[in-house]
């Protein structure tokens, strides 16, 4: 397994990186490399030029921002797991990251790389949707901020333009006392989610005041379940959760594969969504 030949450029700064990708043909950006290198080894991707952004200091670091957090695009999963700020403020990030890849992959893979790759099965995008994160992009043309909820456009397709890089992710604070859960059902070989569900639920005096549910692995991209809103004002009774979970994939075209035929995946979506909602509700204070 050897990739085709390419030219390699290690960018020392954002400026260098943005200059290198602007207007160039056949360029791919590499950070941890755990999404890109396997496809290059199979020669399914044959870039002419690889821009390595893994050593750009500006892409690093996890810092508090208000009651939320800023996560650099180049932050590895391991750094997420080791971050006390994130653990305290967004336990769902810890929970999801623990399920991603394996120890070695978590040492190398980056949050920005995962979001830019936009694998429909990948875990992080649905969490970003549930947390209503904002993804900051930059190019030579300028900067822009895109909500995660607008960022994913399809399987392996995002809002990211060819000359843009993700710089960081802003995660806003959660409603006070919110309970969160990332629940997934993994394919036995790859460990990728057949279905993953991210839920955030807050309660006020016994009534649900905030409810978000996002799914990955189900359709061609991670998506927010519109029906989750309807839980606001409800008490979170079993029938209410059943209704939301049961309809979570309504209107979504689900394709089957050798691991999960379409009818099974549709059924599993309801089960996993239900479990995520249940856990989040239990965790809500």
């Amino acid at each position: 397994m050897i990739p085709t030949s390419f030219e390699y450029v290690r960018a020392g700064s954002m400026r260098e990186a943005l200059a290198a990708i602007a207007g160039a043909e056949g360029v791919k950006v590499i950070a941890g490399g755990h999404s890109l290198l396997p496809v290059m080894k199979f020669r399914l991707a044959q870039p002419a030029r690889l821009i390595d952004i893994s050593r750009i200091a500006e892409l690093k670091g996890i810092t508090p921002r208000g009651k939320g957090a800023r996560i650099g695009a180049g932050v590895t999963y391991r750094e997420i797991l080791e971050s006390e700020i994130l653990q305290e403020r967004f336990p769902i990030l810890h929970e999801v990251t623990h399920t991603i890849g394996d120890l070695q992959v978590r040492n190398r893979g980056t949050i920005g790389g995962s979001l830019a790759h936009a694998d429909p099965a990948s875990d992080m995008p649905s969490v970003m949707l549930a947390l209503d994160a904002t993804i900051n992009l930059r190019s030579k043309r300028g900067k822009r901020a895109v909500r995660a909820r607008e960022f994913f456009k399809g399987a392996f397709v995002t809002e990211l333009a060819e000359d843009e890089l993700i710089t960081d992710i802003i995660v806003p604070s959660l409603p006070p006392g919110a309970g969160t859960s990332y629940t997934s059902f993994e394919q036995a070989a790859s460990g990728y989610a057949i279905v993953g569900a991210s839920a955030v639920i807050a309660r006020k005096r016994g009534t649900i005041s905030h409810a978000v549910l996002a799914l990955n692995g189900v359709g061609e991209m991670a998506f927010l379940v519109p029906g989750a809103d309807s839980l606001v004002g409800a008490r979170g009774e079993a029938a209410e959760l059943d209704r939301v979970a049961g309809g979570a994939a309504d209107g979504i075209e689900i394709t089957g594969d050798i691991h999960a035929p379409a009818d099974y995946r549709r059924h599993l979506t309801a089960v996993i969504a239900r479990r995520a909602l249940d856990t989040a509700l239990q965790r809500a204070r």
Binding site: R10, L37, L103, Q104, V105
Partner: protein
């Protein structure tokens, strides 16, 4: 086009001429003759190629050599000083944590990184930690036992302020497994 890259491998700065597309694992094996790092899959899953990069376990089949220029790389050959064994190596030997041995170097490197951040793990935590290292021979049971044993030894050594390797060499020390029942006892 080849370029000259310096890699700090097992505490020695090595200059290698590599193509940008050269995978770290190929450079280690083919250029530096460090064949203890193995290749077991194409898809970054089996972990046979695991090495430590700046102390963290990484699958060297999913790294370009140029990406790790200037970084500290430790392979199985450099885990312990020459002629000595790391407690993890010793525990794998002691607890029969290997059969064909092909996955073993990668397994050991992952386990070393893991114990660095979790020195007193449960068996479930160990099993989760080595999810990215496949073994087809052992059924993992003695690998888990070996890692738990190494953890105990390393905690004891660290409490006593000792270094983490000991002299290599064979011994006939009996394994702590129960002795066989007599032949034909037919219990």
């Amino acid at each position: 086009m080849k370029r000259s890259v310096i890699l700090n491998v097992n505490r020695i700065a090595r200059t290698v001429e590599v193509e940008p597309r050269s995978l770290l694992v190929h450079v280690l094996r083919d250029d530096l003759n460090l064949t203890g790092t193995h290749i077991g899959c194409d898809t970054s899953q089996c972990g046979a190629c695991t090495v430590l990069i700046d102390g963290q376990a990484v699958k060297s089949c999913t790294q370009l050599a140029v990406q790790v220029e200037g970084m500290d790389i430790t392979t199985i050959e450099g885990l312990a000083p020459s002629g000595a064994l790391h407690p993890m190596q010793n525990a794998f030997w002691e607890k029969h944590g290997l059969q064909c041995g092909f996955c073993t170097p990668g397994m050991i490197m992952t386990a070393v990184d893991f114990l660095g951040s979790n020195p007193d793990p449960t068996d479930d935590e160990i099993r989760h930690a080595i999810e990215g290292n496949y073994c087809r021979c052992t059924g993992y049971q003695n690998i888990v036992l070996a890692i738990r044993t190494a953890a105990e030894v390393m905690r004891a050594q660290s409490a006593a302020g000792q270094p983490t390797s000991e002299p290599a060499g064979e011994s006939t020390q009996r394994s702590p497994l129960p002795a066989a029942e007599p032949a034909g006892a037919g219990v």
